[in-house]
């Protein structure tokens, strides 16, 4: 599903990571500054590796030796950021529809309804992003990413900006997503409890290196 073998120098910090996974939810675990976000940004194509290859679903999207770098907008990924990044000038409904429009996909009312129900955001569609709570914003961001029909969903500490109460409110949605949405995910977190609940496989990062790989058992 996902194959990564990259090197990147970012100032003083050097990142060198290699792993491959067929898991449904790859948990990318590590302290802040371990290089998790840089790694996810490379998978998304927002950051270009100095050397190495990345393949999503069998398609090589980065291969520095062959000069391949597929731009972000052609990678067919979904990305949920810590800070949601909803478009402030669009309503929630327009935000949700954005990916479909940009990819020129035909409307898919069944899928639309399924995801809106799954995330419980039906009541929010007429609102503006500025009028949503943090948890609501994150659920809309999840829906927006899913509705672009990605082949891989990247989640970079999606609960990182929420307080404990809100986290507990969103976690069940993520579990449902894992079990029902049928989209493989890369889930970045420094929270062991979160990953225990969600991940099917763990990639542990420490100072830019992969230190362990395996099931959730490695989270000890």
């Amino acid at each position: 599903m996902l194959r990564v073998d990259v090197e990147k120098q970012l100032g003083e910090f050097s990142l060198s990571a290699s792993f491959s996974s067929e898991g449904r939810v790859i948990g990318l675990f590590g302290a802040s500054g371990a290089g998790k976000s840089s790694l996810v940004n490379m998978i998304a194509g927002l950051l270009r590796p100095d050397r190495g290859t990345i393949a999503i679903d069998g398609e090589t999207v980065d291969d520095t030796a062959a000069g391949i770098h597929v731009p972000t907008y052609r990678r067919r990924i979904g990305y949920v950021f810590q800070d949601a990044r909803l478009f402030p000038h669009l309503s929630v409904a327009q935000n949700l529809d954005y990916g479909r429009r940009m990819n020129g996909l035909a409307p898919d009312p069944a899928q639309h309804k399924r995801i809106i129900d799954l995330l419980d955001i039906g009541a929010l569609v007429d609102r503006r992003p500025g009028k949503l709570s943090g948890g609501e914003r994150q659920r809309v961001a999840l829906g927006r990413a899913l509705l672009s029909k990605p082949r891989l969903l990247l989640l970079d500490e999606p609960l990182g900006a929420l307080d404990e109460g809100r986290k507990l409110e969103i976690l069940p949605y993520l579990v449902r997503l894992r079990d029902e949405a049928n989209v493989p995910m890369v889930y970045v977190s420094h929270d062991v409890a979160e990953l225990r609940q969600l991940a099917t496989q763990i990639v542990m990062l420490k100072q830019g290196r992969v230190t362990s790989l395996g099931g959730v058992k490695v989270l000890t």
Binding site: A44, L46, P71, T72, Y73, R74, R76, I77, G78, Y79, F81, D83, R85, L86, F87, P88, H89, Y98, G99, M102, N103, R128, P129, G130, K131, R144, A145, S148, L154
Partner: protein
């Protein structure tokens, strides 16, 4: 206001036409340039930035004279446009629009540039992850978020264009009905005996237009902040 004479109306309407055309034609260029200055690093960027601002600090008569040399009948660009496209600037209202467009360009570009710089680039990244190619990101995220700045720039540019005097009179002279704008009409009137009353009326019109434009620009700027916060 009811005693505005037909001649004064001609000057007012001409000024409006000149300023509207100047603003509408200059805006796409202004947006492109503002984006370039806000988002790109390239060789000669500070020179380009200085060039854009030049009409603001150069004596208007110099700008007008340079326009005459370049866009006049015998100018390099003017000759080409007249021979091949039939567009003539010298001593025509189109020339007045060109002079006003050039003179107001710095005021047009600045608010657009500021509003593009204020946009969170992470929103553009988000759009890209959702499958939007760079030009689509520009038209669906960057430009809509910068729109209040674009409108503020247009209003300021329009206000400047409607009052432009020095470059216009140098480039296209002061021909009633063709190139005599409000400013050149006032200039003529105050040199004529008994012209004071008419000049006074046009002065009031000028002040009203300028204040209206400043209020409108301020309103658009406030809208910009609201838009960026998603309310």
């Amino acid at each position: 206001m009811s005693d505005i004479s037909p001649a004064e109306w001609t000057a007012i309407l001409l000024s409006l036409r000149v300023a509207i055309i100047a603003t509408l034609v200059a805006t796409p260029f202004g947006i492109a340039l503002a984006w370039l200055l806000a988002r790109r690093d390239f060789w000669g960027k500070s020179l380009l930035d200085a060039l854009v601002h030049l009409p603001l600090v150069l004596p208007p008569v110099v700008t007008g004279y340079l326009l005459l040399l370049t866009f006049g009948r015998r100018g390099l660009v003017g000759g080409f446009l007249a021979d091949h496209l039939g567009i003539v600037f010298s001593f025509r209202w189109t020339g007045a629009a060109l002079a006003c467009g050039v003179m107001s360009f710095p005021l047009l570009v600045r608010p657009i540039r500021l509003s593009i710089e204020a946009i969170d680039r992470r929103l553009e990244q988000a759009a890209e992850t959702l499958g939007a190619a760079p030009w689509k990101v520009f038209f669906t995220v960057t430009l809509p978020l910068a729109l209040p700045g674009v409108l503020a720039g247009m209003v300021l540019g329009f206000a400047k264009a409607i009052g432009e005097f020095g470059a216009t009179i140098t480039f296209v002279s002061n021909i009633p009905g063709e190139t005599q704008t409000i400013s050149s009409a006032i200039y003529s009137l105050i040199q004529t005996p008994d012209g004071d009353a008419a000049a006074g009326r046009l002065v009031i019109v000028s002040i009203a237009l300028a204040i209206g434009a400043l209020i409108a620009a301020e309103w658009f700027a406030r809208r910009a902040t609201q838009r960026l916060h998603g309310n």
